[in-house]
């Protein structure tokens, strides 16, 4: 710390951080010895004055800057946000109420008869013929006829084993 030399009783002992803090934070509450030193020490006077002016300017500049920067419409925006929040809360309440009403009402109106869609399903109407069912019946009839035949035409040679084996031997 480089301080200007002076020929006073305070030359080698300046205000401590605590004393300077007391002067800056609450000048009226600072003790008598601190004020006495300040009155007789140009170095501390200069430092105290510089710090005080710096802090005062800092506050003033911050205040003016904030005043200039604070959005003019901020208040109305806050109000709009507030109204929007209220609207959202109402919307939520309305949605929840609607869901609750539907949850109660839907089981009560459940249909007790078949719907038209179910009535129109193939095979559900006795008076209507189904082409797919007819083809299935014809196929089953054909298979039944094939099973009922004692010897299928493709296996007919096996029905005469003697003639067949004789032929093989001779060949």
């Amino acid at each position: 710390m480089n301080r200007l030399p002076h020929l006073t009783q305070f030359a080698d002992r300046h205000l401590s951080d605590a004393q300077m803090f007391g002067l800056l934070d609450a000048p009226d509450d600072s003790d008598a010895s601190t004020r006495l030193h300040l009155a007789g020490c140009p170095s501390c006077q200069s430092e105290f004055s510089t710090l005080r002016v710096s802090l005062t300017n800092f506050r003033a500049a911050a205040t003016r800057f904030a005043s200039a920067e604070v959005p003019a419409l901020a208040s109305s925006r806050v109000a709009a946000h507030s109204r929007l929040s209220r609207f959202r809360r109402h919307a939520w309440a309305t949605s929840l109420a609607t869901v609750a009403v539907l949850a109660v009402a839907v089981p009560l109106v459940r249909p007790t008869h078949k719907t038209p869609a179910l009535q129109q399903l193939p095979g559900n109407s006795p008076g209507v013929t189904n082409p797919a069912a007819e083809s299935d019946d014809a196929l089953l009839d054909g298979i039944q006829r094939d099973i009922a035949t004692s010897i299928p035409p493709s296996l007919e040679p096996l029905a005469v084993p003697a003639a067949s084996s004789a032929t093989d031997i001779h060949n």
Partner: protein
């Protein structure tokens, strides 16, 4: 709104209560914002150094306060209550959006030059104006290096001019701890001033 908030008599007088809140004057969020909006914005701007973030958090402060107004018991002033909400938002923001925050700062940061344009006595001499700008920049930059608590306490004391008891209530700290943070913050600022003064003195030789 609770009767405590509506009743100005129940609110202790502090430096932040300069615009007296009369009964019924806080009946709307617009009125609350008109009374305290600029101060909350200033505190957030000085704390976060970003216009956009400060504006957003200012609105958020009043919205939260308004939505929680039924919980306000009137144990402290409305300004103290609002500042406490704002401080919590600052802490949340810097904690959860730290990296995004710093990226944001690079785009819309408030620099010392921005503040210097608003220094009082612009008609003073060029030399004294330059010195004032240097000192302002020094304080602005030094405050940025303080810890979060030191910065908060310093801003509440030397910008908002709050009483120590109010600062303790806002920061949720004992008064003795508030004094310690304030003392350390001022010691750092004093040290930077001395260092800068020494360097200026050496340059002038």
């Amino acid at each position: 709104m609770t009767s405590a908030l509506l009743n100005a008599q129940a609110l202790p007088a502090t430096a932040m209560d300069e615009p007296t809140a009369s009964a019924g004057s806080l009946a709307s969020i617009e009125t609350l914002h008109e009374l305290f909006g600029q101060r909350i914005f200033r505190f957030l701007l000085a704390s976060l150094r970003d216009r956009d973030v400060a504006e957003t958090l200012t609105q958020e402060t009043f919205l939260r306060a308004w939505s929680a107004r039924d919980q306000f018991r009137g144990d402290c002033s409305a300004a103290t209550w609002l500042t406490r909400i704002a401080l919590n938002l600052v802490r949340d923001h810097t904690r959860t959006n730290r990296f995004r925050f710093w990226r944001q700062v690079s785009r819309t940061a408030v620099q010392a030059d921005d503040l210097a344009a608003h220094l009082p006595h612009p008609a003073s001499s060029t030399e004294s104006s330059l010195i004032a700008q240097q000192q302002l920049a020094l304080v602005w930059e030094t405050v940025a290096t303080l810890s979060e608590r030191q910065r908060t306490v310093f801003l509440l004391r030397f910008v908002e001019e709050l009483e120590l008891a109010d600062i303790a209530a806002i920061a949720d700290l004992p008064i003795s701890t508030v004094k310690t943070h304030l003392y350390r913050a001022l010691a750092i600022i004093r040290s930077r001033h001395l260092t800068t003064s020494d360097s200026i003195r050496k340059e002038s030789r």
